[in-house]
Symmetry: C2
Amino acid sequence: MAAPKYTDKQTRIARYAKALGNPARIAIMEFLAQQETCFFGEIHEKLPIAKATASQHLKELKDAGLIQGEIIPPKVKYCINKEHWKEAKALFGKFFGQCICKEDNCCKE
Amino acid sequence: MAAPKYTDKQTRIARYAKALGNPARIAIMEFLAQQETCFFGEIHEKLPIAKATASQHLKELKDAGLIQGEIIPPKVKYCINKEHWKEAKALFGKFFGQCICKEDNCCKE
DNA sequence: ATTATTGTTCGTATTTTTGCGAACAATTTT
DNA sequence: AAAATTGTTCGCAAAAATACGAACAATAAT
């Protein structure tokens, strides 16, 4: 180990990025983000995947903190976790704002 | 398949997110983004990983389009791919800007 | 010519991810 | 009580990601 471990911020942004690193999960997040309030219903009907697979993706988004779900049988209420959404937004914002290249083609001389 | 396939944008943002979904790759990107110009040198020395592993991560970032490398023996020149960086920045910007929840706690009533 | 430098590729092993159907749990409807 | 609805969990399989050391290639330095 020639260098220090990763920072907390690096770990957290990587965690969020990983959770978003699948088109099905992007689609789920986009869908939920466009709901005015929480969503009750069958999310897998909005996606080209099986019920079990959708449930798994939802679990991963939940584990990453991007969404939250509450069981209100026979349905489940899914929502964006606004607090973590904002944190992720800030982290990615900083991440993409940090490039100090002076010109667009600074890397092509 | 109960719904249409994913859109191009969904696929692309997921691709970028996946590439960023590892702390080592976040660290590499942050490091490169903070260079004024391109970097010649041993990136694995900046990270707590082996040479071979660093090389693999660099390859993945390259495949995802986030960086570019040019061989100038005995070293390699690594740079942010500014064009794709900007695309990713825009995609994530839109993604995180789309939540229409009206209040921070709209999902907690 | 030999050695040192720099980074990739190969071979390998382990773990994680992805996806599905079937079975299950909890409630609502009939 | 039986059937329908909704979503999770289980068991499985296939694919991809993660990480490493060792071997290799290509040039530069001695």
